[in-house]
Amino acid sequence: MELKFILEAILFSAQKALSLKELRDLLAATATAENAEDAARPFKKTSEETLLAALEQLQKEHADAARSYRLACVAGAWQFVTQPEFSPWLIALVGQKNRPTRLSQPALETLAIVAYRQPITRAEIEQVRGVAVDGVMQTLLERGLVEQTGRAEVIGRPALYGTTPIFLEYFGLRALEDLPAADELRRIVVEKPETLLTTDPGLATAPPEQLNESPAEPADVM
């Protein structure tokens, strides 16, 4: 029996999303059961890499078939979910999903900074945003989207923050690597251009040569 179809059947009937480890344990338990079927035995020691490959293959097949549902991996756990375009009928069927209120703009900005730069202190977040983030951080902590991950080894030992698995679930992300432009935003290296075009030709004072020549503008400006 093909591994991907076994996994498909398991995930089809599972009560919740299952991680690679849970799937591996399930296969091992089936293979070592007292009255194990012969078909189950070969999967006794299936590695997580093999499982992942089978799941990704299955995911691709479902995507290629363009069905109304797909196999999704959120926060490292796999499950079948519907495609978003069918939500009107599903909302009618099960009612509006019981989701917490949407995040505000400041909350999203702060969360983005924490997500890309974790672990990060409050002061570092404020440096990027240019405003205080106490209230926003409180909201994010209460909603379990971020958590304290440790303390920075600097003076005052400020708390370091990072995102939680709830963060990944909330945005439907497989892992932190799934964040868009992750490599770029992790540590932005902003290239300094050759010249900074900051001065307005009209506003800038006369070039120094002129100033030095002019008797009306003596050097005691200093």
């Binding site: 089809f12 009937s13 599972a14 009560q15 999303a17 549902y69 999704a72 499950q79 079948f80 979910v81 519907t82 495609q83 978003p84 375009e85 939500s87 599903l90 099960v94 999903k97 989701r99 949407r102 995040l103 703009q105 400041p106 999203l108 900005e109 969360l111 983005a112 900074i113 997500a115 890309y116 440096q127 990027v128 945003r129 240019g130 405003v131 205080a132 909330y170 945005f171 439907g172 992300l173 868009p180 770029e184 935003l185 932005i188 902003v190 300094k192 251009p193 900074l196 075009l197 900051t198 001065t199 307005d200 506003l203 800038a204 004072t205 120094p208 100033l211 050097a219 400006v221 200093m222």
Partner: protein, 267 residues
């Protein structure tokens, strides 16, 4: 003034306002004219003050930074005060631009997160019903007939009879209504009780009969049901499917009438 409804854009902070001003001028952040930007920024703060809006401290800090940059521009390079250990990173213009570029990227990332947030609201996971084979089996069990129950209670009575010591004389301590209450309590604690367990601590024939009558009464009132897993197996007593009759009512109903009639038969 009050007739005009002024829609004032709300900014997250000074960086947000600066980005807005840069976007309005349609220039690249790297090519922005900081002196013009400083003028616009201060104009904006002036408007906010006129409208009596509260200006956060961060805006004033930014205004002073911009004023500092602007004033530096006004001095010829060779006449500026040489700050010790000054290197490229301490150029205030560069510092501000770097901060703006960084903030802009995170703002874009936040917008992307918002897209994910909205998308996630429309995605429904498959949640199948719980696979429950045990429940199916229970339904298939046949109900026990009155004769099965009589046989069972006879077996118990024989056992109790052997234990009875005819020399002991004591009062009838049990009534059917008490036993009904006891059975209801028992079945609400554990959902399934074996028939023989009901009489486990029965001390006399009259107690067994009282318990048995209570059981029959509760079956008649459809409070309890008896099922037998296999032929000649133990009879299990379970709570019957919910009925409109509440257990408290049923107890009250019988308390008066049947118990006195039944008691004489026992003696």
């Amino acid at each position: 003034m009050s007739e005009y409804k002024v829609k004032f854009e709300v900014f997250e902070g000074p960086l947000d306002l600066l980005l807005h001003l840069i976007k309005k001028d349609e220039v690249d952040i790297y090519e922005v004219n900081l002196t013009t930007l400083a003028t616009q920024f201060i104009e904006y703060i002036e408007v906010m003050r006129k409208l009596d809006l509260e200006i956060a401290g961060e805006f004033l800090v930014m205004a002073s930074t911009l004023m500092f940059i602007k004033s530096r521009e006004l001095l010829p390079v060779d006449q500026q005060v040489e700050v010790e250990d000054e290197d490229d990173t301490e150029d205030p213009r560069w510092e501000l631009i770097r901060q703006l570029v960084e903030y802009k990227k995170f703002k874009d990332a936040a917008a992307q997160l918002q897209v994910f947030e909205l998308e996630q609201e429309n995605i429904f996971p498959r949640v199948p019903g719980k696979l429950d084979f045990a429940a199916v089996r229970a339904v298939a069990r046949p109900e026990v007939s009155i004769f099965d129950l009589l046989n069972a209670v006879n077996a118990i009575l024989k056992r109790v009879h052997q234990r009875d010591d005819p020399r002991d004389i004591f009062d009838d301590k049990w009534s059917v209504s008490e036993k009904i209450e006891y059975l209801i309590k028992l079945i609400s604690e554990k959902s399934r009780v074996k028939f023989s367990d009901l009489f486990g601590d029965a001390t006399s024939r009259s107690e067994v009969v009282c318990t048995f009558l209570a059981l029959l009464e509760l079956i008649r009132l459809k409070q309890l049901s008896c099922v037998q897993g296999e032929h000649f197996g133990d009879i299990d007593i379970t709570r019957a499917a919910p009925q409109s009759l509440a257990p408290e009512n049923s107890v009250g109903e019988i308390e008066g009438a049947p118990a006195p009639i039944l008691n004489p038969q026992l003696n």
